[in-house]
Each structure stands twice: as C-alpha cells, then as structure tokens.
C-alpha cells in the first residue's frame, strides 16, 4: 500500500482563500436546537391532536398540517445524528459536504411538489387536485424531512466553498421562501384571508420549486465549468515553502487557462472522491439497516390470548407454581382422553408419529382418493369399509381394498397367485405362490406397504405398534409395554408424561396445549415505542382481538434458547436446532481439520513439482468456488443414498433411520470447507521461516519429526484462524444441509451422529417463510443468536490474526 502521507497537503501553509465562513458554529447549534425543541413539543402534543383539528391551537394545527405529528419522534434520530456528525466532522470533509449539499437543494423542491399537504391546501380546482394527488408513501416523506433538515445548515455553512455571491443569495432566498410557507400554513389554519394567502403560498411554493431547481443546476454547472472563481486547491503539493505570502499568491495567476483547467480537474476529483466515499457508506448503511431491522422485529408488543385462561385452569394457585403431581392431576381432570393422547403423542413421540401409525390405519387413510363417492359407488370404498382399521379387515374386505386400491380386477385377485397379479411390483418370494385370501393380515400389510402408493405407508402404519417399541429408549412402566398406544387408559398416559418430563416441561405443555397460549398480533419495536395509540386503536377496531392482553414481549430470551421446537411461535424455542448445529459443527471440525492439515502439509512439504500435484492445487482452488448447494447434492447422492448403510447407522444396528443423519451432514460440510481450510493452512505453513526447518534438519530430525514438532506448532495460530473462519461460514450454511436432509420441524433433540437433525439457519428459513403471526419475530430472534455466535467466532479469529501478525513482527 503506498504511503500517501507525503502527498497530503499541508493546509496550514497553503490557504489562500480566507473567505467568509458563513454562520459560526454556535449560531448553527442554536438554530438546530430550536428545531429540536419544536420537534419535542410536537411529540409531546401529538396524542392530543386528532384528525379534525380546527379546535386545536394554531401551533398544533401548524404541526399537524405539515404532517409533522406522524413522524415527529423519528426526527429526533436523524437530528441527533446530524448534530453529532457535524460536531465530529473533520474539516477535511467539508468539501464533500459542499458537494453533498447540491442534491439536498433539489430534494426539498421535488418533495414539496409531491407532498400531500401542498396539494391538499393549494387553491387548485378539485379535478386538478385529484390528478396531482401523488400518494407519496411514508418512507419518502421521512426522507423529505431529513433532507430538509440536513440542507439548512449545509446551505448556510457552505457559503465558503461556492462562489459567495450566488450561495449567500441562494441561502437567503431559500430560507425566506421556507419562512413564507410556514407563515402561510399558520395563517391558513387561523383562517385569515385563506384564498389570498392560498394563492400567495401556491405561488411562493411554486417559485421555491423552480428557483431551487434552477439554482441547483446553475451551481453544478458553475463549479464544474471553467469560469469558476478561485477555490481552495487541496491536493497541490507545496512548491516552495520559503516563498512569502504575496509571492505565493502570484505563483499561478487565477485567470490563466492552466489554472482554469486545473480547477475544473480538481473539482471533478473532489466529486469522484465523494462518490467513492459514499460507496463505502452504502455498505455501512446497509449493514446498520439490516441489524436494526432484526432488532426491530425481536422486541415489541404482543397480543396474548388463551383458549382457556390459566386462571380458570388453576383458580387457587398460579399455574406456574404448581408441582408436578398437581399439574398431572390438572391434566387428568381437565383434559379429555383423546386430547391427552394427542398431547402425549406430540410431546413425547414427535409429530411424525401420526395417529394412524399409533393405532393402525383406517382404510380411508391408506387410500384417501378412494373415499366414498356416490357417483361411482363401485369404484370407491363404502363408508363402513373406509372407517375400518386395516388390522380389522376380513378376507373379503381385504380383497376389495386391494382390488380398488391397485386397480386390479377382483377375479384376478381371487383366482391368480400374487406372483402373477403383482407382476412388475414388489412381492416377497415366499408370497408369490399364494393367493391373497391365504395371507395373514401381517403379510397383507407387508405387501401393501411394499407397494405403497405413498412413502408414508409402512407396516407399522397399518397395524399400530406396542408401547415398548414406540417408547424405546424412554421411560415407561412394564405393565404397559405390550399394550398398543390406543389401548391405554388415561392414568397410564399421565404416568407416561410424568415419567418422562419434569415440572417445567409439564407446565409448558399445559400452557401450550391445554390453555392454548397464542399471540394474535405482534408489533415491531418501532411501532411499540412510537405508536402506542395506534396499536390500541387497531385492537379496538378488530373484535377478534379485543379480549386479548397487550404485553411487551422480548422474543429473544433465555427461555427461547432453551425451549424445544413447537409448531406455534408463542411457545417455540431454538434448543433443538442449536443442538443440531452443535453436533454438525463438531463432527465437521473433527473430519475437516485432520484432512485439511494433512493435505496442506503434503502440498507444502512433500509434493514435488509434477503434474499430479499441480492438478491437485488447481483442483482445490476450483473447488473453493463451487456453489454450496452442489456440495449438498453431492452429499445427497453419496452419503445419504449410496452410503446409507453407514450413515444411517445400520451397520451398528440402528434400524429406524435413513441416511439423512448428522453424520451425512457433517461429511458434506467437511467437504464444503475443506478447500478453504487447505488454502489457509498452506499459507500458514508457508509463512513458517525456513530457518526453523533447516535447523531442525541440522540436528538430525526426520522430515515428519520436523513437521510435527516444529512447523505445525509454529503454523498453528494461522491454521486455527483459517479454521475458525471456515467454521463460521459453515455455521451459517443452509442450502447444502437442506438438500442433505435437514428437517424444518422435529421434536426430538439430536442425540447422536445417527439421528435426524435440524440446524439454526434451516430453522430461520422455515420460520421466515411461514406467514402466520409471530414467525417473523422468532426468526429475527434466532437471527440475533446466530449473528452473536458468528460475531464471537469472527472476533476470535481477528484477534488471533492480529496477535499472529504481532508475533511474526509484521
């Protein structure tokens, strides 16, 4: 990087233009403080002002008419920011302020035309008013006021840098016109000679518009043309510091052609410099807006509502203070058996255990498209047949089901063997010689499941499973082990809940499933802070919302991080996906780190300059640029499908999972970050000075001893930095994990490398895409958690890198 300090101007020496500076800083501050006081007054008065404001004091009407009430609180923000910026601005940036002020002159004019207020009160004929009614949205109106406020002091202060005659006049005239408009509004609402002043104000506003536009254009033309008056020349190096003041002034005569072209070039240079600076600011602004948006959505008012209020469930003690036994009794008393079954199923078994699987499917659920249709009675199931469970079918009904479901004529099913009838489909060899009427219900279920119309139809789906299989790995009493799920009594369901959950979880279950906690509406932080009356009005306006309770809720809380995933945003939490992320990342590091370091060591230390190694190096660099979703597809095809025996845990006896497990995800992510890890490790190893290696060889160490004991420890901080950066990228990756099988909804925490999983970014994705009330907010809260983790990781990496640079003396 070139050292540009030698090229900086020494301003103290070269300052030929001691022109008038415009208003002093203290005066400006007073003016700005005055405006600030106006805004604060507007904010305080705001609740009092209604739509029909003819009875309100003139000042209030003035504020109201200008539309200030709506945005009064927002003004404080750019205002305060502007004061701070102005105070902290180094003088070096004044030329840029000058140039920035030029568009600011045009903006108020443009928005003046479109502002609803001007059109509303100007004395145009109504038809014309309708045509001119441009509904400028709130965003632009806010920008208008920001531009208005920023431009005033800029106009007044920039007198130095624009040819003085024009700028002073411009400032005066602009200020005059604005005062005139303000006066007009005041007087109009005071109803003094409205029509005459209407005309005057319309004229004045129009004049202001035209004037400002012309002025802006004129100024731009002037400062870039050749007839510009002498200006400060910031970049010209000092020719001769010994020359006296008078001589310096005549070094370059202002009227010469060279000086003129020089000036215009200088101005162009300043313009472009401002443009480049603005490019940086855009990035900063985007970042700020993104973060503020997320924070905005994570806190705010919510409208809490219950299906059954907790006070009705537990009139004596508050619900949160009941013990586990009391909560269990509450469940027993207040909840029906069917409801209890659903609660146990959702909370202990996970939502993927459908009701059908738990108790044997009804025929209608196996072939829903064959539901009874009066128009085609012989091609659909009768109602009685449809409601029967598959496990209870007799031979004739089984025949009907198979014939209608698979489109095979009954005669064939009755007379031919299964091998002939089911040709082209999957038939176990043992069954091929039998006829359908000779099968047991278990065999029929297996046959049906093997040729299932949809993937969910399994044998267990059809027949239901005993408790000992459903609750394998969890607590259940021996007396229910052989019973089927739908055959338990209420007390036994409650005992299952008690055995597997603690009081806090039971409380949450009751809150969620019995009391039915839900949030009917949510509001952002900005709305909550600034528009409380509006929120109340919205609640009153909608009768469905009226009996809820308005509460300020922080979506990001410790409870959010430690609660498991549910289907309702009011009670959902991030714990399941955090654990999933943790599992995936740890396994990824364990796989990628040795492979990456090994490859880097090979490429740096052992590889000769032959074709194969060149291919490997180019290959790594190309792989670093492959989109991440392609890695996901690679993982899907290889780890999930081809290597399913290993990744589903079948080789160690796990039989109820498929290849979409944590280990597949970890391998895929390891492949994803491997190129970056290798490149970083290569650079770290390269940075180790060769003197260390040579000294090690000199004392007789072998190559590997050198690497293991000298090079690697020296390169380790660099490798670690690269690893941390790759890991932070891996944590935020969604697409490959989606393809490999990350779930968007799962109730069971991942508890091993062979379990199904979900990760935080996938959770954010599924919540963002869900339009129901409240999901945006939990997505924002989860984003904050994710960003916090990433920030911590990146900060660690940066600190490590700084310390590394210091150690190596860079």
């Amino acid at each position: 990087m070139s050292d540009q300090s030698s090229l900086k101007p020494r301003r103290a020496v070269l300052d030929p233009l001691q022109a008038k500076r415009g208003l002093p800083f203290w005066a400006l501050t007073l003016i700005l403080l005055g405006f600030a006081a106006l805004i604060v007054a507007a904010w305080l008065l705001a609740p009092w002002v209604a739509e029909d404001d003819t009875a309100a004091p003139i000042g209030v009407q003035l504020i109201n008419g200008y539309g200030m009430r709506d945005f009064a609180p927002l003004w404080l923000i750019p205002f305060g920011a502007f004061l701070l910026v102005y105070a902290a601005l180094p003088r070096a940036l004044y030329p840029y302020l000058q140039l920035l002020s030029v568009p600011f002159r045009l903006l108020p004019a443009l928005f003046g035309i479109g502002s609803l207020n001007v059109v509303r009160i100007a004395p145009f004929p109504p038809a014309l008013k309708e045509r001119l009614r441009v509904p400028f949205p709130p965003v632009l109106r806010i920008l208008y006021f920001i531009a208005l406020f920023l431009s005033i002091p800029l106009r007044l202060r920039s007198a130095r840098y624009i040819p003085p005659p024009i700028s002073a006049r411009a400032a005066r005239n602009a200020a005059l016109i604005m005062l005139l408009s303000l006066l007009y509004f005041w007087l109009y609402h005071g109803q003094i000679l409205p029509s005459l002043l209407d005309a005057l104000a319309a004229l004045g506003t129009g004049f202001w518009v035209v004037f400002a536009v012309c002025l802006g254009a004129l100024n731009i033309w002037r400062i870039t043309s050749e007839e510009a008056q002498p200006m400060e020349i910031p970049d010209l190096p000092v020719a001769d510091s010994q020359a006296s003041g008078a001589e310096r002034k005549t070094l370059m005569r202002p009227e010469s052609a060279l000086a003129r072209t020089l000036r215009s070039r200088r101005v162009a240079a300043s313009l472009w410099q401002a443009a480049f600076f603005v490019a940086n600011i855009v990035g900063l602004i985007a970042l700020l807006v993104l973060l503020l948006n997320i924070i905005n959505q994570s806190f705010g008012y919510v409208l809490v509502n219950y299906t059954i209020k907790p006070s009705e469930l537990s009139p004596d003690k508050p619900l949160s203070e009941l013990s586990e036994a009391e909560l269990a009794r509450l469940l027993e008393d207040k909840v029906s058996r069917n409801r209890l079954r659903t609660i146990v199923r959702d909370n202990l078994l996970g939502r993927q255990f459908s009701q059908i699987r738990l108790s044997g499917a009804q025929v209608i659920n196996i072939f829903p498209e064959l539901a009874f249709d009066a128009a085609r009675p012989d091609q659909t199931f009768s109602r009685a047949l449809g409601d029967k469970r598959f496990s209870a079918l007799n031979a004739r009904e089984l025949l009907t089901v198979f014939s209608l479901g698979f489109g095979i004529p009954r005669e064939r099913l009755e007379n031919e063997t299964l091998g002939q009838v089911f040709k082209g489909r999957i038939v176990a060899p043992a069954l091929a010689e039998k006829k359908l009427s000779e099968l047991t219900i278990q065999e029929a279920a297996e046959l049906l499941a093997a040729n299932a119309p949809r993937p969910q139809v399994t044998v267990d789906f059809l027949l239901g499973e005993p408790i000992k299989k459903l609750f394998e790995g969890r607590a259940f009493r021996p007396e229910v082990a052989e019973k089927r799920y739908d055959q338990l009594e209420m007390r036994e369901y409650i005992r299952l809940l008690e055995d597997n959950l603690d009081a806090a979880q039971l409380y949450r279950i009751i809150l969620r499933d019995v009391a039915g906690l839900r949030y009917d509406r949510t509001w952002t932080l900005l709305e909550s802070l600034t528009n409380y009356e509006g929120i109340l009005a919205q609640i009153q306006a909608d009768e469905k919302l009226r009996d809820g309770e308005l509460r300020f809720h922080s979506w990001l809380s410790l409870e959010f991080i430690t609660t498991e995933l549910t289907a309702s945003p009011a009670t959902t939490g991030l714990r399941t996906s955090l654990i999933g992320s943790l599992w995936v990342i740890i396994l990824t590091i364990l796989i990628a780190l040795p492979l990456g370091i090994g490859a880097a060591i090979y490429l740096e230390e052992y590889a000769e300059k032959n074709l194969l190694n060149a291919v490997i190096e180019t290959n790594i660099r190309n792989l670093a640029g492959v989109p991440s979703i392609i890695y996901g597809m690679l993982g899907l095809a290889i780890f999930v499908r081809a290597l399913e025996q290993f990744t589903s845990g079948a080789f160690i006896g796990i039989t109820d999972s498929n290849g979409r497990t944590v280990i597949s995800a970890a391998f895929t992510m390891a492949l994803l970050i491997l190129p970056v890890v290798i490149i970083n490790a290569q650079e770290a190893i390269r940075a180790v000075p060769s003197s260390i290696r040579e000294a090690s060889y000199g004392v007789g160490a072998t190559k590997w001893q050198t690497i293991w004991r000298q090079v690697l420890p020296a390169a380790f901080p660099g490798i670690l930095t690269g690893l941390i950066l790759s890991v932070s990228r891996a944590i935020g990756e969604t697409a490959p994990l989606l393809v490999v099988g990350g779930l968007t909804f799962t109730l069971i925490d991942p508890n091993g490398p062979f379990s199904k999983f979900s990760v935080v970014p996938i959770q954010i994705y599924s919540w963002t895409a869900d339009p129901a009330v409240g999901f945006r907010n939990v997505a924002a809260a989860a984003s904050i958690v994710l960003l916090a983790v990433l920030l911590a990781l990146n900060a660690t990496a940066i600190i490590l890198r700084q310390r590394l640079r210091k150690n190596l003396g860079m």
């Binding site: 970049d235 490019a279 990035g283």
Partner: protein, 405 residues
C-alpha cells in the same frame, strides 16, 4: 568397525583400543529405511487426494444422475384404448384411433409392458400398429381390450436447454425458465455490487487514511460474515415492503426478483471490494508516484493508471462476484418466489435454479423419481456455469496480469 582381539592372546589395551571400545561405531552408515515416514507420506498424499476425489465424485454424480434424467421415459396417457385383446406373442395391436397418435420408433406402454412402434400399418380408426414387444426390460404379456396406451417421452437435451417452461407435471422441462431468473437476479446484484464494491475498494486503497481504513475494512468483513439466510430475511421483511411502498403495490409482487437481487448485491459487495482492493494495492508505488509527478490528480491517477494496471484483478473480482451471485440459494429461496417463471420483469416472482433445487429437496423426495433426476440435471447446468466462470477468472488473472520487477 571392530578391532578383533584374538582370545587367548595377551591383549594389552592401547589408547586406540580404549577409544575404539568407547566409540563403538557398530551401526552401518547406510540410510535406514524409515517405514513410518513413508506411511506418513502416503497418508498425507491420500489427504491431498480427497480433494481430487471430491471433484471426481461431483462430476460423476452429477453426470450419472443427469444421464438418468435424460434417458428415463415419462409416460403420458394417449387417451387411446386397445380395440381388441392382444396375446403375448403377436406384434400387431389395434387402437381406437382417438387421442394422440404414436410416432414410429416411439416407446409406448400398455399395462406393465413397454413396446416400441416399428410401423404404423394404418392410421385413422382403428389405428393398427406393428410393435416390438417387451422392450426396456419388460416381458411381453397378454392385454385385455380397453387397456389404455401410454406414450413414452424422453427429455431431450435440446428441449432441456432451450425450453422456457418448467412444469414437471406437464412434462415441460425447459431449464431456461430457471436460468433466466438466475440471470436477472445476478444482473441486479452485479449492478448494485459492481460500482459500490469497486468504489469502496478504490476509496480504501487510495483515499482513506489509516484510521479510516481500520474502520471501513472490518465493516466490510462483517458484511461478508453475515449468513445468507439473514440476508434473505432482510430482503423479505424490509426490502420488499420498501419496494412495494415506493412503487405501486400492484406492480411489485410480494415475492420479486428485484429485492432478492438487491440483497444479493449487498452480500457480494465485500467480495468484490476485497479482491479489487488486493489488486489495486498490488500495483507498485512507482506507478502512482510517476503519475503524481506528472501532475495528475488522484482521481486521474486512479482512472488512467491504477485501474488499467489492476484490470486483471478487478475483472477477476467481478467474475468471482458473478459466480457467487449465481450460486446463491437462500436469498432467492426466501425472497424470490416459488414458481419457475420465464419473466423478464424483475418485479415479478420467479424461481432460480438454486431456489428450485432447495425447494424440491425439502419435500418428500424419493430416489428414483423424475424430480430427483431433474435436480441433478439442473445441478449439472449450475456446476458447468460456475466452473466456466471460475476458469475464465483464473485465465484473466493469469493472462492480463502485468508483471512488475
């Protein structure tokens, strides 16, 4: 080397004897084989080979599944029924002539058997065909009358590459619908990120003081570290409503490519900025100082000396940005819509290649369906595009790099 002292003889120990017994150099000085070193070398070589295996695996997987996609037959009903029953041996079948006629050489299916049309004996009602029985690993079997005939269609590569509708149920597999959306979002992203990234890079490397640089560079790094899901959330919850309030709500859909493109642009600003800045800093000081010595302003130096000198790096940065934009998934999956749509208007919703892959994968995906295979065909297209872009970028970097002493 040992000095043998014969036993039994009187051996008096000389100084040499004593010395040689102390320094018993009995080991040979040949190089000892060190199997552990060789083992380590082999292991490390295998580690290095993993990356090659990854590429090979990528290419193989994408190609084989894509080939499966292009060779599988999808069957659509022709609305024609068999007029008369057919036994297992005859090669003549009669159809009722309504509906779609098969072509010569087309594969058709009746019940479970696939046949190929050899000759159309007579068209009209009834249609009589001579067929080859039992192709594609099916066995000839008798068929009753009134069995429906299904027409087999393959997806040709030309149709895949030039079609503009992607509707799998209607057997329309035109990838241009997805590619156009990718193109539009990437173009919007580059229009945003190109000037801003380059301007930021120029400012950081030329105009900024060390203090300002220390503030601006971390900001860019933070922008680069934000996960893309969060950008997608930002696009959907802030940019889309802002666009809808600036433009008329009827023009801008709730999902549109413009907001996805804007968010992508913000995301790739740091990429372009950092690579361009590296390129600009690599230009030696002598060029800059020569330019200042001739009296150029800083801006003229930047535009006439530095950018041409660093052009290879800047172009490489742009192409890197484009390839990142093309490969981006989550922003478009969230903000850009869920239906393939060949739309040139960025205010409409359309699904890109990557968004389509992501959406299909999250559903129930069975391993032999046409959806699964089509995923890999799209993936292959995407892979080829990004590979070509990366190769071009490397080529530019190598060819146009100006070498300074």
């Amino acid at each position: 080397m040992t000095i043998e002292v014969p036993t039994g003889t009187i051996a008096f120990r000389t100084a040499a004897d004593r010395l040689s017994s102390i320094t018993d150099v009995s080991a040979s000085l040949n190089k000892r084989p060190r199997p552990f070193e060789d083992f380590i070398r082999l292991t490390l070589f295998l580690c290095g080979l993993v990356s090659v295996l990854t590429t090979v695996g990528l290419v193989v997987v994408l190609s084989t599944e894509a080939i499966n996609f292009f060779t599988r037959y999808g069957f659509r009903s022709s609305e024609q029924l068999l007029v008369a029953p057919v036994d297992a041996e005859s090669t003549i079948i009669q159809l009722d002539g309504t509906g779609t006629q098969p072509r010569v050489g087309q594969v058709i299916r009746v019940n479970e058997e696939h046949m190929r049309v050899v000759r159309i004996i007579s068209a009209g009602r009834p249609t009589v065909l001579e067929v080859e029985r039992g192709v594609l690993n099916t066995r000839p079997e008798p068929h009753g009358a009134n069995a429906t005939m299904f027409l087999g269609e393959q997806v040709s590569v030309i149709e895949f590459l030039t079609g503009t509708r992607w509707v799998p149920q209607g057997a329309d597999f035109g990838v241009l619908a997805l590619v156009m959306a990718t193109l539009i979002t990437s173009t919007v992203a580059m229009l945003v990120a190109g000037p801003i990234g380059l301007g930021a890079a120029i400012f950081i490397s030329e105009y900024a003081s060390a203090r300002l640089r220390a503030i601006l560079k971390p900001i860019l790094e933070i922008l680069a570290a934000i996960p893309t899901v969060v950008y997608g959330y930002f696009a959907l919850t802030l940019i889309t409503p802002a666009l809808r309030s600036i433009f008329w709500q009827s023009e801008v859909g709730a999902y549109n490519q413009l907001s996805a493109g804007l968010a992508m642009g913000i995301m790739i600003i740091p990429t372009i900025a950092s690579v361009s800045e590296d390129a600009l800093s690599a230009v030696p000081r002598s060029l800059r100082e020569g330019s200042y010595g001739l009296g150029a302003t800083r801006r003229e130096t930047v535009f006439r000396v530095l950018i041409p000198a660093a052009l290879s790096g800047i172009l490489a940065a742009f192409i890197l940005g484009i390839s990142r934009a093309v490969g981006e998934t989550m922003i478009v999956a969230i903000a850009s819509g869920a239906g393939p749509n060949f739309a040139l208007n960025p205010l409409e919703a359309a699904e890109t290649m990557t968004g389509h892959i992501a959406r299909i994968s999250t559903g129930d995906l069975s391993f032999n369906s046409v959806d699964y295979n089509s995923l890999f065909a799209i993936g292959l297209t995407l892979f080829i595009i990004t590979l070509v872009l990366n190769l071009i970028s490397n080529l530019i970097r190598r060819r146009f790099r100006e070498v300074y002493q």
